[in-house]
Amino acid sequence: MKMSSRARLLFACASALVAGALAMPLWRVQLYAPQYPEGLGMTIHAGTVRGATENDLRSINSLNHYIGMKTIEPDAIPELRFIPWIIAALAAGGIGVAALGRRRTAIAWVGAFVVLGLVGIWDFYKWEYSYGHDLDLEHAIIKVPGMTYQPPLIGSKQLLNFTASSWPAIGGACLAAAMVLAIASLMIDRQAPSPVSSRRESRLTEAA
């Protein structure tokens, strides 16, 4: 089945948003403590992890040595090497869908996007879990029995003196918006009265 031109346009927009997300932070983890009224922040990009300011990552790592948390080193996270390619492929695929205009390919694309998104979130959670739980207790300076330091996937949580909050950043919002647009594009084609359905409708009216 062919997509309407409106739907294809929406799909192209969705692809552009996905491509845009490549250049923007996807997620942001922010830490506040009495000693850090200005906050320390960390942004997760498709290909790296950065401090919100020049030295925030350095400061976060420096503080984390007290609890035995592993050093956050973007180069040591293998996923960050291929996530940009996945997103780029997704964006390119989306453009392809818009060009082809085949509804079935579009559905497949949305399906792939959902699956990849879920895998991404699961992977992020797994890393958070690992940083928060796999502590070097032999060298940790502050050891609170039973305490782990996993930041929330989304929302806020108190970790000792720090309030950690985790929210999608602009790039993450772009991906979400892209998903909404792509699904909307599928929906408008379903709701729009096609020649076939209108004929059937008129027949039903006659029967009545």
Binding site: E38, N55, S62, L63, I141
Partner: protein, 668 residues
């Protein structure tokens, strides 16, 4: 005997005069706890976490430093060490800052700082730098206001008592220094009673608008008076500088009496643009003049010293039109130019009037050659030809005047202990307010510039007595904040100050606040002994010198165990604070160290020399409570006898091991 008698008669007369004024002003109550205006508390209350409206920089007087206050709260924000060693952070003890103290007299560890002066752009304070003078061993320092640190100190040659200093031209091209004590120029061994023949004053113009490049642009050789204070012209009088002088009697002993004989002394009016012309025409001469210029090098942040041996000297007789004397009653102290640049106000401390000269009349008098006489090639203008007006019966002992930008002037009176507000042009006194006690300088933010922020006035008093809870024979100095926004001056606040503040400067906080450096970038640290990571730390021996490279980070030093040092060695600790986070400081101190501690700002390297005198194990520790494990931030140095075979050793931390292994891995 007769001199003594005259003196006591004079003293009696002064007392009688003071008594008469006291009587005239009504009875002074002993204490004035309730004199502050009813709403004063709310006007000076800055709620917790909120900021003051102004930064105020008060000289630290005989402490040699600068104190920074918030106004209107009167809260002390910082002490900036300038001319005195400061063991509190190692300034003047660590190797990086010691060169700042170099003079032709050797290492001078103290001075008497008098007059802070802000750098200006187009006659308005711009918040880039603060200059301040050293009065005892004449020098001028430049303080950078993005870091609140002393960056440069220049010595003034051929001078003694750098009091009329460091007033700034409207474009900050020059700061000036004039000699309070005339001396032989060049200084040499002569009989003191040959004063009139051999002693000279100098007016120095120091180029100031390039950091790290201050230099004596030229000096003007003047008659041997005492030059007291100065201020640059502005607007129409831009290009002129005015200096007060006293002891025009040229007395060399008992100045109290002998320098108070003449009815009028002089304000020297210097057309420095004319002086520049003469110098360009080769009318100056190269004269001996030994001085040091010390500055902090960018990048390494290590102070450097250079010695210079000559200056360009200009004699007024060789440059007609460069210098004039304005007769001014009597022993004038301050000379202050109003915001329009037209009026030149003298603080004639022994006169019963405040004399005001007019710049317009000054120019006309020069054109008309209205000269009384000439002294060493300097024309003395006729008083009536230059005088704009006199404020009659203002009070006793006028010293300094500042302006509110609304046509009013405020003069401090030491003897009658008050601030008097008067109107420019009509010369009438419109208000007066007592000060507690015996005010010296007063300051309005921007009050000596083209654009005063005329909301507050700070009175800096010489005597404190009963203003605070008593603290033995010596009290803190006292300042008073006065609201000048209305018709009547209102006392708002007393606050104690350090040393003896002379002059001060203040500027809206917005011009400085957002330019503050929060840490030094490790990547930009060019100190040759910088240690950027734990793995770079270590120990080296060069003959009897042992250098220890060490990092400080929450909450440890690395290395923290050092062995192989011997009695007779000179140990230099080069400690780098590798934090890159605002206000995370570390300190460093060693048991028995004969110098000071170090306080290390984030990203900074400082070096401290230690000569252990005996064997043993010496702990060192962090002196600035940096973190929860601050008490664990410590280490040991082992000192063995000379010739011992204990191996030179600095331990390697676990982190350093990991870093070294990583580097080795990367190389394979």
């Amino acid at each position: 005997m007769s001199a003594l008698k005259t003196r006591s008669v004079l003293f009696g007369a002064t007392l009688a005069g003071a008594a008469a004024v006291l009587y005239a002003c009504g009875s002074h109550t002993a204490r004035t706890t309730s004199l502050a205006a009813g709403d004063a508390a709310s006007k000076v209350y800055v709620p917790p976490g909120s900021y003051d409206e102004f930064y105020a920089f008060l000289s630290g007087g005989y402490s040699g430093q600068v104190a920074v206050y918030g106004v209107p709260s009167g809260r002390l924000l910082k002490l900036i060490p300038v001319f005195s060693q400061f063991p509190e952070d190692g300034y003047g003890y660590n190797e990086e800052t010691k060169p700042l103290f170099q003079t032709t007299y050797g290492f001078v560890p103290w001075d008497d700082s008098h007059h802070p002066e802000m750098s200006m752009t187009d006659g308005v304070p711009d918040g880039r730098w603060l200059f301040i003078n050293a009065n005892n061993t004449p020098r001028i320092a430049r303080i950078d206001l993005t870091r609140f640190e002393t960056d440069e100190i220049i010595e003034i040659p051929n001078a003694a008592g750098g009091h009329a200093s460091p007033f700034t031209t409207p474009d900050s091209k020059y700061v000036v220094s004039a000699t309070r004590f005339s001396v032989p120029v060049p200084n040499n061994d002569v009989a003191i009673d040959t004063y009139k023949k051999n002693f000279k004053g100098t007016l120095s113009f120091i180029s100031a608008n390039q950091p790290g490049k201050m230099d004596i642009a030229f000096q003007i050789l003047m008659p041997g008076y005492n030059y007291d204070l100065g201020h640059a012209g502005k607007g129409p009088s831009d290009g002129w500088f005015f200096f007060t002088s006293y002891n025009t009697e040229e007395a060399n002993t008992k100045l109290e009496e002998n320098a108070s004989q003449n009815d009028k002394d002089f304000i020297a009016a210097v057309n420095y643009r004319r002086a520049e012309e003469c110098l360009a025409q080769g009318k100056g001469r190269t004269a001996p003049g030994n001085y040091y210029h010390n500055w902090v090098e960018e990048g390494s942040r290590i102070a450097k010293s250079e010695r210079k041996t000559s200056v360009t000297m200009l004699e007024p007789a060789n440059c007609p039109g460069a210098v004039y004397y304005l007769p001014t009653p009597k022993s004038p102290h301050g000379v202050d130019i109003d915001p329009t640049g037209e009026y030149i106000v003298a603080g004639s401390k022994l006169a019963t009037v405040i004399p005001v000269h007019s710049f317009t009349k000054l120019q006309r008098a020069i054109a008309d050659r209205a000269f009384e006489k000439e002294i060493d090639g300097i024309p003395v203008l006729k008083y009536d030809a230059v005088m704009a007006g006199e404020v009659q019966k203002p009070g006793l002992g006028p010293l300094h005047t500042e302006f509110d930008g609304r046509g009013y002037a405020y003069t401090s009176f030491f003897i009658s202990s008050e601030v008097v507000k008067w109107k420019l042009g009509t010369w009438e006194v419109v208000d007066r307010i007592p000060t507690y006690y015996s005010i010296g300088h007063l300051m309005i933010p921007g009050g000596d510039s083209k654009q005063p922020w005329g909301k507050y006035l700070i009175a800096m008093n010489k005597i404190t007595k009963d203003r605070y809870l008593p603290t033995g024979p010596e009290m803190a100095q006292s300042a008073q904040l006065i609201d000048i926004s209305g018709d009547k001056m209102k006392l708002l606040l007393d606050f104690p100050t350090i040393g003896e503040p002379h002059y001060a400067q203040a500027i809206p906080a917005s011009l400085i606040r957002d330019k503050q450096v929060k840490y030094y970038k490790l990547a930009d640290n060019k100190n040759p002994w910088v240690t950027r990571s734990e793995s770079e730390g270590g120990i080296t021996r060069t003959g009897k010198r042992v250098d220890v490279k060490m990092i400080a980070i929450r909450s440890h030093f690395a290395p923290d165990n050092i062995e192989g040092v011997q009695v007779g060695d000179t140990v230099v600790f080069h400690v780098t604070n590798i934090e890159q986070d605002w206000d995370i400081l570390h300190g460093f101190a060693v048991l028995g160290m004969n110098t000071s501690e170090l306080i290390l700002q984030p990203g900074e390297t400082r070096s401290l020399t230690w000569i252990p005198k005996g064997t043993g194990v010496f702990p060192f520790y962090c002196t600035d409570f940096c973190s929860a494990l601050h008490q664990e931030m410590q280490g040991y140095v082992r000192v063995s006898p000379a010739g011992s075979d204990v191996k030179l050793m600095a331990n390697v931390s676990r982190k350093a091991q990991a870093q070294l292994a990583g580097q080795a891995g990367a190389q394979r």
